[in-house]
């Protein structure tokens, strides 16, 4: 593989894995919410909010992918001639958000689905349910931060 190809593999993993995580997470909450809304259609709005939470990891992955594309010149005018070590540097920079995005989105989905159960009984406690789910978000944000700092630190 050329350096450029390795860098693009990094972009693909960031977008792909974080996206898979979000799809699974949002999927779990969606099922749980559909169960609740079958019995109680008024809770649609509240459950939608909870369902959206595990979706952010996919966005973080896409953002990281974009930065890689922009830095290597896929987006823009000139395509960089990357050496193989430079390519690996981009791949490694993508790993934090790829892995943490994948897993944190799934776990956030589980917490959000539990929060769906919470608002089934206590709709007024939606805020607390969201707080629990957002705690998981912290680690996705930290991973995104690490990936971005790594990307901008690569001297090409």
């Amino acid at each position: 593989m050329t350096g450029l190809e390795i860098a693009l593999l990094g972009a693909a993993l960031a977008v792909g894995l974080a996206g898979i995580g979000s799809a699974i997470g949002v999927g779990i909450v969606g099922q749980s919410a559909a169960g609740l809304v079958t019995e109680d259609p008024d809770k649609f709005g509240q459950t939608l909010l909870l369902q959206a939470l595990p979706g952010t990891q996919g966005i973080y992955g896409l953002l990281t992918g974009f930065i890689i594309m922009q830095r290597v010149g896929i987006i823009g005018e000139t395509l960089l001639e990357l050496t193989v070590p430079e390519g690996y540097a981009f791949l490694m920079a993508a790993i934090p958000i790829a892995l943490v995005g994948l897993l944190s989105a799934i776990y956030q989905g589980r917490v959000s689905a539990s929060a769906v159960g919470l608002i089934a009984k206590r709709p007024e406690e939606l805020g607390k349910g969201i707080v629990y789910a957002v705690m998981v978000e912290t680690y996705a944000v930290l991973a995104l931060l690490a990936s971005i700092m790594l990307l901008f630190g690569i001297p090409v």
Partner: protein, 334 residues
């Protein structure tokens, strides 16, 4: 567990909404304090049961409504469970109930209007099976047990064997299916039910003055309490049993329930406490966000709720004092 626990997400979401509509202790209290059965009925038509009890013309037909409610719960769980075997396992108890009713109708000439339309085998088919001695639609253990009941009864003419043989087969089947499915929560439920039945058998055997040998025959294996633990105290006073089980989780149940049973000669307090004990165990299902536990818990919650409604209606129809009804009312799941 046979499948990924998040496969239960939809089912649990739906159960959570349904749990919120279970009748709570407050509402039961109000029903108990009602002045008549008609007033209880009126309260029921203002609850989750509005549509079903609304159609009731004669109050004495309430049993039909309760059993159709039970059927309705099973239908609902069957449609939402990602694991249909679970509902089949939970329905098996009713197959055995129907079998017992039909066998007793046949051998003891008791009229059989108490079939519950919930088992895995439709009641019509079950009636036919018993009439024709053809049990091939039942699971193997139950089929063999049913055939054994027939053989044994012809020789001994002892109606007790009907319950005995069928219960033994039922719980063997339940334990083996729970093990096969690898759902410890379910197995835990059956183990506790076995223990409670064994405790009940022990007191009955004691009361009737039958000895250790008879208890051995009636004992259900696979429980937490072993035969040696229970059988030893059969010829001794109750106190020794209370001491012996003092360190187990059945301590209060034995101390309060069995003592009351022996004092008053009725098992109603014990049975209430036994049901409450199972409720307390299954309540864990309320906090599980995924998995089969909430379904198992909700089914039990509804069974108990229907039992409470029956207790209240029967009590009111027979004009029992409120306190007599209240002490038999089971704890609510919520």
């Amino acid at each position: 567990m046979p499948i990924d626990d998040t496969a239960y997400a939809y089912a649990v979401g739906r159960i959570r909404a349904l749990e919120a509509r279970l009748l709570d202790q407050n509402r039961f209290d109000r029903m108990i304090d009602a002045s008549s059965a008609e007033e209880v009925l009126k309260m029921l038509t203002e609850s989750e049961y509005a549509s079903s009890f609304g159609e009731l013309s004669n109050i004495h037909d309430f049993e039909t409504i309760l059993s159709s409610e039970l059927r309705h719960i099973f239908d609902l769980l069957e449609t939402i469970t990602p694991w249909p075997e679970l509902i089949a396992i939970m329905a098996l108890r009713y197959d055995v109930h129907n079998l017992k009713v039909l066998f007793k109708a046949r051998y003891l000439d008791i009229k059989s209007n108490l079939l519950i339309p919930v088992g895995t085998c439709p009641t019509g088919k079950m009636v036919q099976a018993v009439a024709e001695d053809d049990f091939r639609d039942l699971p193997d253990r139950l089929r063999i047990a049913a055939e054994k009941v027939n053989e044994d009864f012809l020789v001994n003419h002892d109606p007790q064997v009907i319950d005995l043989i069928l219960d033994q087969a039922l719980f063997e089947e339940l334990i083996s299916r729970a093990e096969k499915a690898n759902v410890p929560f379910l197995k835990g439920l059956f183990i506790r039910q076995i223990d409670l039945i064994n405790l009940k058998t022990l007191v009955r055997v004691k009361n009737m003055g039958f000895g250790r040998e008879f208890f051995k025959k009636a004992f259900l294996p696979n429980g937490n309490l072993s035969f040696d633990q229970l059988g030893g105290s059969i010829d001794e006073p109750l106190e020794s049993l209370i001491v012996q089980l003092g360190m187990t989780e059945y301590a209060t149940l034995v101390d309060e329930g069995i003592r009351d049973w022996l004092d008053r000669g009725t098992a109603s307090r014990f049975e209430k406490l036994a049901d409450d004990y199972i409720t307390a165990y299954l309540k864990k299902g309320k906090w599980m966000p995924f998995g089969p536990e909430p379904l198992i818990g909700y089914l039990w919650a509804k069974e108990v709720e229907l039992k409470n409604i029956r207790l209240i209606l029967v009590g009111k129809i027979n004009k029992l004092p409120a306190e007599a009804i209240r002490e038999r009312i089971r704890d609510a799941y919520i």
